[in-house]
Symmetry: C2
Subunit: 339 residues, 2 copies
């Protein structure tokens, strides 16, 4: 026991004086005997004291949506209990690098929807795609042409390059290209039980002509994390939990809207049934087999041997993809009421 | 790195062979270029493989409700990001005895609504009220007349007694009365930084005539836990976070529907503005001042001294409340489709 009146100091410090609860209580309607019919309007009223108009709008609509849902399906106590226990597990398995709520949002299609709402397609610009749960700020910075994969990473050698420009056709220099992918086993660095250095992720800046280039491994299709509550949910739903092979890109420059997208491999399984609904036709790319060993040498890329028609060929995969950014514009006002 | 292909054994063991993802993928519609308009129907289709009709219904309606909400408010990426970070925090502050998601559900009125949907009022029976986040199975079992509070617990001495019967007027013997409350400082045992034995909670069985009786302290109004993300939300919403003084009851017997309810003190602040929307008129009770020292002695209750009209009086608080249970009936079929 510690603190005033036995309440822990931490708890007490936070609530004391922040607002005067008796003053607030006076401004509220009398709320007794709330029923399934009148509870929603009362919860909306109690939340109407919020001073931020956008948050007030978001929370008002959320309460209505949640309550309408519960009434509509006639949600029962044991189901509600399972739901909050599930959400607790989702939070508890999360770490700095494992974002299980993002995964949950992903498999419910909410991430893809929010992506579409936030970044509507602009003619000529590269389309966006879902962020996914595995972005990590702690990636290494690379020189142009450097490798995002550590020595000995499983996977087939790949060179990725292209030009970043804007919708006016102007190339963008000093754009930050932040890229992340699975290794050749379909596993992100943070999924391994022991993670040493960041791997299969890196940041590189475009040069004066807007060029980027880096080395990596060819990504493969993989199961999303399914050793947690979201995996259990997918199993119960009888859904598959695979994503097609892809490489994530986050491209940032002070003058442009940040582009969060991913490139999907045409030759991969699940391109048409991605369990997180991220694939767009314009983001499907080809990894071309390349035997230009001069190019490999230039980028210090160790070629692999591939048997084609019974003959051994030395080479690597080449992915060439340009990105088109959108100039930043003042943020549009956000909806704060229904029209 | 461990396990097949470097995937952790735990992850691999769980997904291998559970379902055949390629078989499942074949049964799905082609899902590419999902837009804000067509994503919902596609997510519904992918979930339609679920074999449990109630879960399929719940998840289908949930996806629709979530997506409709996001479209309606035009949910933006940064707001979505704050939301999943918030939910992660709610999970992470939770423990075996602190159920922050229950608290979140409580302050959004969802708990009260689910309570009403699950336990509709039955004429003559005691009304239900919200469970709250502080029920703990680990309470001590008491003899009839025993105390739920440990020696030295702050608070005013109180005796609670009554009869448990059913809607036919038949008394119910061997009903388990599980009760929990704050101490006189408005703090639950599990909220203290150091929790030793369970305190201010206990379980007692009714006798052959349906009587229950126990000693406790008079509960007081208190702030709900607000040192976590739900507290931050309440602060941002400019809401107060007080509950009126109350005592929780969970009454169970194999032949009756479990009653989860609470008794609210008429003399308490916030009876009309309970931040979790739990108060019903029929659950408001009076603690009567009692100077029957024989009764106190019978139950080994240490009286307190109270000054009334300048004169010292020795006595204690007496709460008398009967409960009426509902006979168990076969569970009604749950909704699995819209009519």
């Amino acid at each position: 026991m510690s603190g005033v009146n036995g309440l822990s100091d931490r708890t007490r410090a936070k609530w004391a004086g922040a607002v005067d609860p008796e003053e607030i209580a006076k401004t509220l309607p009398r709320m007794l005997d709330l029923t399934t019919e009148n509870i929603t309007e009362n919860v909306v009223k109690i939340n109407s004291l919020c001073k931020d108009p956008r948050l007030r709008y978001l929370i008002t609509k959320l309460v209505k949506a949640l309550h309408d849902y519960a009434r509509d399906v006639n949600l029962q106590f044991d189901e509600w209990e399972k739901a909050w226990q599930f959400l607790t597990e989702v939070g508890q398995i999360s770490t700095d690098v494992r974002h299980e709520f993002v995964l949950l949002s992903d498999i419910l299609g909410l991430s893809a929807l929010v992506d579409s709402l936030s970044y509507p397609t602009v003619p000529g610009a590269t389309e966006s795609s879902v962020l996914g749960p595995f972005h990590d700020e702690e990636a290494h910075s690379l020189e142009l042409g450097g490798s995002i994969t550590a020595e000995g990473t499983p996977g087939e050698p790949t060179l990725v390059r292209g030009v970043i420009s804007d919708t006016d056709g102007k190339t963008v220099s000093r754009a930050l290209v932040d890229v992340w992918e699975t290794d050749g086993n379909g596993v992100y660095d943070v999924e391994y039980e022991v993670k040493e250095e960041p791997n299969c992720r890196g940041k590189v800046f475009t040069d004066d002509q807007g060029n980027y280039v880096f080395r990596c491994v060819k990504p493969v299709a993989y199961p999303i994390s399914n050793d947690g509550p979201v995996g259990e949910l997918l199993r119960t739903l009888n859904r598959h939990w695979f994503r097609p092979a892809h490489m994530h890109f986050m491209i940032a420059h002070p003058e442009y809207t940040k582009l969060i997208t991913a490139l999907y491999s045409r030759d991969s399984n699940y391109v048409e049934t991605d369990t997180v609904f991220g694939v767009k036709q314009s983001l499907i790319v080809d990894y071309n087999w390349c035997e230009d060993l001069e190019l490999a040498k230039k980028y210090d890329l160790e070629p692999m041997v591939r048997t084609i028609d019974g003959k051994e060929h030395k080479g690597f995969w080449l992915l060439e993809k340009d990105f088109v950014l959108i100039k930043k514009s003042p943020p549009a006002p956000r909806k704060v009421r229904d029209d």
